[in-house]
Symmetry: C2
Subunit: 342 residues, 2 copies
């Protein structure tokens, strides 16, 4: 059996103004009625194959996690402060039996092709049982410079490969070379491993992270299905990513490449690209929106009434009293606007 | 002495969503802190030269007229239903002495050069005393197709001309010919005449309008400084413009051309053109607006927070829960959006 570990601690501003504060991106309904977090829970809800999930989140998000998880039997591990992915995963490791397989997943991505996802998990589980630290690589369809890449090495059978190396977010030229060469996939931050195997790896590669997390779980306070980990001890954990702390250093890391309709929805442009068109002009509109003579626009009207005329390739995002308007091609500049707002 | 007659009955949608219902364009602050209506009152507030004004407005606008007129001693003539400019002016005529000069002005225009305006009024008053129906023509600076034109005929001395003919809103080619030929001015709907002279003209050209208005004033109900004219009789007045009903038919109509910094602010484009730039990129912004890398945009943020990135020549107008976005060059299409909204 596999225990899903859902990382829910993010609070990005790339989808400002909708994503902010207690209502982070993973809690938004960006591709349908369910939020990305709810979709992540549903993806591993089959009780025949998965144990109840462990959700890692910050205190500010406990209320919305509870609201959105509905009748899920998942447990919560509440982090008193953010300490990056290595420490979060160490918390999950600290509360698990050594032989449980842990499936670590970000909660703010889209995976459209669930059966490909399940198939990849099944392949990865075989490798994880053999004490590989397994990462799932997304088969790239463009020379994206915003993601890290994983180079596949020797084939391990059944669709898995030993990882040759991890590549940091590359410049465009290098990304194009990797796409042309083949054998590279995007690092999507989805991992599968035996809990004990990861504990041992952390003991070797990042013992401070592991010990802080174990102490924080031991001294934590339980409230129903939630464990509030201890702030005094957890605060000692260095803030490092699991990639940097473990995956790039360990000698037995595997990758299972998969095309599973994955997107990190990292910009309003990505939200537009994945949205269902509301007309035959490529517009994606939610809420009370009137579009006259517009093409390829994204409108998220919130609880307001948006009327647009003669626009092309534009994003209009309303959230409460905030209204953001920019060309979709400038989506990467949203943070600048977010930072200009208190 | 001259009595100002301020026509305040309009309820256009060209500046939707700000202009609508009880808050028509003339009551908006579009070029500064005072509304266009307040600017119109102030323009003829000099008690040495002008009598207290008469304001013609509909019932829906009485409250905002009172609020905005402040301590003005103007009287109100309240129309129970709109009946166009001929009937409105007939009401003003009906309540005036025959020898009073009436200066009829729309309340939703801008006149930036007040001294030119006053100078033109002084010239026109001389002609009005000689029983000319005087209209003030705006010296055109472009071949505008949205206005009517007035062709000047014989010079009458002191800057006035007999009107040769009125030209309806022309096609572009004709407008260009008129500009090239010279001797044409825009019809701005500003008139000056002796009340008795206009009464006689109406008796000749549109007696039904005159009689309905006179009966409506006679049967009206006075409330403080307001006369609510009688609905039953006023409803009998045909709905025609003063141009069509009188000015185009009368044989003694004069025009005083003047360049007085006039604009009808008939579109968001015009509001942008007349607005004070809030930066050195030609942006005109009011309210809580953050503009990043934008040029030549109009932002009216209302009580919301607007953030725009990478836009050029765009209008963003927020009013209550309505948000309108369009290129300034498409300003004429605002009505379509307004009509799509309840």
């Amino acid at each position: 059996m596999i225990q899903p570990v859902i990382l829910c601690g993010g609070a990005g501003t790339r989808l400002w103004p909708e994503s902010r504060g207690a209502r982070a991106k993973q809690f938004l309904s960006l591709t349908g009625s369910d939020s990305l977090f709810q979709q992540t829970i549903a993806r591993t809800a089959d009780a025949m194959r998965f144990l109840p999930a462990v959700i890692l989140c910050g205190e500010a998000h406990v209320a919305i996690v509870r609201e959105q998880m509905g009748r899920s039997e998942a447990g919560l591990l509440v982090e008193p402060m953010p300490r990056n992915t290595a420490a979060a995963i160490a918390l999950a490791v600290a509360q698990a039996d050594r032989d449980t397989l842990l499936l670590v997943m970000p909660s703010d991505h889209v995976i459209a092709d669930t059966s490909s996802f399940q198939e990849a998990i099944a392949k990865g589980a075989g490798l994880a049982e053999q004490d590989w630290l397994v990462t799932f690589g997304i088969t790239p369809d463009r020379p994206e410079t915003g993601f890290g890449y994983i180079a596949s090495g020797d084939a391990l059978g059944n669709g898995g490969f030993a990882v040759d190396r991890f590549v940091e977010k590359p410049p465009l030229e290098e990304a194009e070379k990797m796409i042309a060469a083949g054998g590279y996939s995007w690092n999507a931050g989805i991992f599968l491993f035996r809990a004990g195997r990861m504990r041992d790896a952390m003991q070797t590669h990042c013992p401070e992270v592991l010990h802080a997390a174990e102490a924080a779980v031991a001294a934590g306070a339980r409230e129903g299905n939630a464990l509030y980990v201890d702030a005094g001890t957890f605060g000692d954990a260095p803030s490092v990513s699991i990639d940097y702390a473990v995956m790039e250093k360990d000698g037995r890391v595997a990758v299972v490449p998969a095309a599973m309709g994955w997107s990190d929805l990292g910009s309003w442009q990505a939200v537009h690209a994945l949205g269902a068109s509301s007309d035959d002009c490529g517009n994606v509109a939610t809420g009370d929106a009137v579009l006259l003579d517009c093409r390829a626009c994204l409108v998220r009207a919130g609880d307001k009434r948006v009327s647009i005329i003669g626009l092309e390739g534009m994003a209009v995002v309303v959230d409460g009293d905030d209204i953001l308007i920019l060309p979709l091609s400038r989506s990467q500049d949203v943070r600048t606007a977010a930072n200009a707002r208190p």
